[in-house]
C-alpha cells in the first residue's frame, strides 16, 4: 500500500512535467522554429527575385539616337525639338521611365519589346547658342543609356545641331533584301557598304567622315530584274549636312593599328632578309641586287641603316597621314605589307 502510494506520487509529477515539456515544445519552441524558417524562406525568395532582377538589368541593351525633328527632308529641321529613336537590342522587354536632355527631365511610360524600335514623341529643347546637350534614357530597371550620337551641340553659326564625332549613320529598318549604301562628297566616294546577302534584320552602318560639309547618301536595293534601285524615290540620294569643326578620331585609330602592324611586319621581314644576306655573304656568296651590293661595298652597316631609314620614313608618313586626316583610302598599310612580302621572297630566293 505504501509502495503504491509512493509510485503514484512519482508518476503524477513525471507525467505533469512531461506534459509541460511537451507543451513548451509545441507552443513555444516549434512556433519559434517555424517563424525563423519562414523568415529564412522569405529571405531566400527575395534574394532569388533580386538575382533575377539584376540579371535582367544586366541584359538590358538599347541603342538610341537623338536628332532634330525633320518631317520633310526638304525643310529645315525644327531646331528646338529632338526626336529619339530607340531600339531594344536586348533579350528582355524594356520600360523607359525617363529621358534627360541636360538637366531637363521628360518622364515617359514606354514599353519596348525585344528587338523592337520605337520613335518617341518629339521632346522640346531650350535652345542656347554654343551649348552642348547630353541626352540620356533611363529604364525602369535602373539602367542609364546615352545617345549613340554622343553629345549634341547647338550653334546658330553652323545652322543648328552638330556632333563632335563626324559620322553619318544609315539605318535601314527590318526589310528583306540586299542593299548597298554609298557616301559621296564632291563626286568622291568616301564610304561604301554592301550587304553580303539578303538581310532579314535591320542594317545599321556608321560612316565616319573626316571633314564637315554636305555629303550625298545613296541607298540602293538589288532588284532581280532592274538591278540596283534607289530606295528613296524620287530622290537619288539624301543630302546630309555634317556640320562640325571638330575632327573625328575613330577611324584614324583603326588605320593606325593597321599601319603599325604592317610596319612591324615590314621591319621583321627586313631584319630577316639582312640576317640571311649577311650569313650568305659570310659563307662566300654574292649579293645579286646591285644597289645592295653597292651599299655593302661602301660599308656593310649601310644596308641595315638604309632599311632603318626606310622604316622611319614610313612611320613618319603614317603619323602625318593620321594626324592630317587625309582621306584614309590611302592604304599605306598595303604598301608596307607588300614590301614585307617582297623581302620574304628575297629571303626565300637567297636560301634557295
Amino acid at each position: 500500500m505504501r509502495t503504491t502510494s509512493s509510485s503514484f506520487r512519482r508518476g503524477t509529477s513525471t507525467v505533469m512535467g512531461t506534459l509541460i515539456f511537451v507543451g513548451i515544445i509545441f507552443t513555444a519552441f516549434i512556433p519559434m522554429l517555424f517563424v525563423m524558417r519562414q523568415a529564412d524562406t522569405l529571405h531566400e525568395i527575395r534574394k532569388h527575385e533580386l538575382g533575377i532582377l539584376d540579371q535582367e538589368r544586366a541584359r538590358e541593351e538599347i541603342n538610341f539616337y537623338a536628332y532634330p525633328l525633320e518631317e520633310n527632308p526638304d525643310e529645315t529641321p525644327d531646331q528646338d525639338e529632338l526626336i529619339l529613336s530607340i531600339k531594344n537590342e536586348g533579350s528582355v522587354p524594356i520600360k523607359i521611365v525617363n529621358v534627360w536632355i541636360n538637366d531637363e527631365e521628360h518622364p515617359q511610360e514606354v514599353n519596348i519589346k525585344s528587338m523592337e524600335t520605337i520613335i518617341l514623341d518629339s521632346l522640346p529643347v531650350i535652345l542656347q547658342d554654343l551649348t552642348s546637350y547630353t541626352v540620356k534614357v533611363v529604364t525602369e530597371k535602373g539602367n542609364v543609356f546615352s545617345s549613340e550620337a554622343g553629345i549634341l551641340y547647338y550653334s546658330s553659326s553652323v545652322d543648328g545641331w552638330y556632333t563632335p564625332s563626324l559620322g553619318i549613320c544609315v539605318h535601314i529598318d527590318n526589310f528583306k533584301g540586299r542593299y548597298q549604301i554609298t557616301i559621296i562628297k564632291e563626286a568622291i566616294i568616301v564610304g561604301y557598304y554592301l550587304s553580303d546577302h539578303d538581310e532579314h534584320v535591320d542594317i545599321e552602318e556608321i560612316f565616319w567622315v573626316d571633314l564637315p560639309g554636305t555629303y550625298f547618301v545613296t541607298i540602293e536595293k538589288l532588284d532581280p530584274v532592274l538591278g540596283w534601285v534607289s530606295v528613296i524615290p524620287p530622290y537619288d540620294a539624301y543630302s546630309c549636312l555634317v556640320a562640325s569643326f571638330k575632327a573625328n578620331h575613330g577611324r584614324v585609330r583603326k588605320w593606325d593599328i593597321r599601319m603599325r602592324l604592317s610596319l612591324l611586319f615590314f621591319a621583321f621581314c627586313s631584319a630577316l632578309d639582312e640576317l640571311v644576306t649577311f650569313r650568305i655573304l659570310s659563307l662566300g656568296g654574292v649579293e645579286l641586287n646591285p644597289r645592295v651590293a653597292w651599299l655593302i661595298s661602301i660599308n656593310p652597316l649601310l644596308y641595315p641603316l638604309a632599311d632603318i631609314a626606310v622604316i622611319a620614313i614610313a612611320y613618319v608618313v603614317d603619323r602625318l597621314l593620321s594626324k592630317s586626316l587625309v582621306d584614309s583610302l590611302v592604304g599605306t598599310w598595303l604598301i608596307w605589307t607588300t614590301t614585307g612580302i617582297a623581302r620574304l621572297l628575297c629571303v626565300a630566293l637567297s636560301l634557295a
Binding site: S5, F8, R9, T12, S13, M16, G17, I20, G23, I24, T27, A28, F29, P31, M32, V35, M36, Q38, A39, D40, L42, H43, R46, K47, L50, L53, N98, W100, N102, D103, E105, S132, K136, V138, E140, K141, G142, V144
Partner: protein, 150 residues
C-alpha cells in the same frame, strides 16, 4: 483496531495533500518555465524575423545616381537619385568632402520606384575636372558615379 484505521485514514489524507502540493508546485514551476520559454522564444523569433527582414531590405536596396549636372555660371552641382528597388531608401551624397544633406540625422527619403533631386551643392569645380560622387543609404549601401565637369 479503530486506532489503526484512524491512523491509516490520516495517512491517506496526508498522501493526497502531498500529491496536491507536489502537483501544485510542478504546475507552478512548469507554468512559469512555460511562460518564460514562450515569451523568450517569441521575442527571439521576432528579433530574428526582424533582423532577417532588415537584412532583406538592405540587400533589396537598388538605386543609382541617375543624373548629374553642373552649372558653371553659378558653381552649382545638382544630383538626381533614382530608387529602382522595391524598398524605400534614405540617402545622402558625398562629393569631394561635401556631404549633402550636411546634418547628421538628415537623410533624403526616396520611395520605391521614384526619383528625387538632391538639394543643390555649391562646388567650385574646374572644367574637365573629374568628380567622384558617392551616394550612400542609411542601411549602408553605396552607388558611385564619375562625372566630368564640362
Amino acid at each position: 483496531m479503530k486506532e489503526r484505521e484512524r491512523l491509516q485514514e490520516r495517512r491517506a489524507f496526508s498522501t493526497v495533500l502531498s500529491v496536491l502540493i507536489i502537483s501544485a508546485v510542478v504546475l507552478a514551476v512548469g507554468g512559469g518555465i512555460w511562460a518564460f520559454s514562450q515569451s523568450a522564444m517569441t521575442i527571439s523569433s521576432e528579433d530574428y524575423a526582424e533582423s532577417v527582414i532588415n537584412m532583406t531590405d538592405t540587400i533589396s536596396e537598388r538605386f543609382i545616381v541617375e543624373q548629374v549636372f553642373y552649372y558653371p555660371d553659378t558653381n552649382i552641382l545638382r544630383i538626381w537619385i533614382f530608387n529602382y528597388g522595391t524598398v524605400d531608401i534614405e540617402v545622402k551624397v558625398q562629393v569631394k568632402d561635401i556631404i549633402c544633406p550636411s546634418a547628421e540625422d538628415e537623410w533624403i527619403e526616396i520611395p520605391s520606384k521614384d526619383m528625387k533631386p538632391f538639394p543643390t551643392i555649391n562646388l567650385d569645380a574646374s572644367s574637365r575636372e573629374e568628380l567622384n560622387i558617392k551616394a550612400y543609404t542609411k542601411r549602408g549601401n553605396n552607388a558611385y558615379y564619375k562625372f566630368f565637369v564640362p
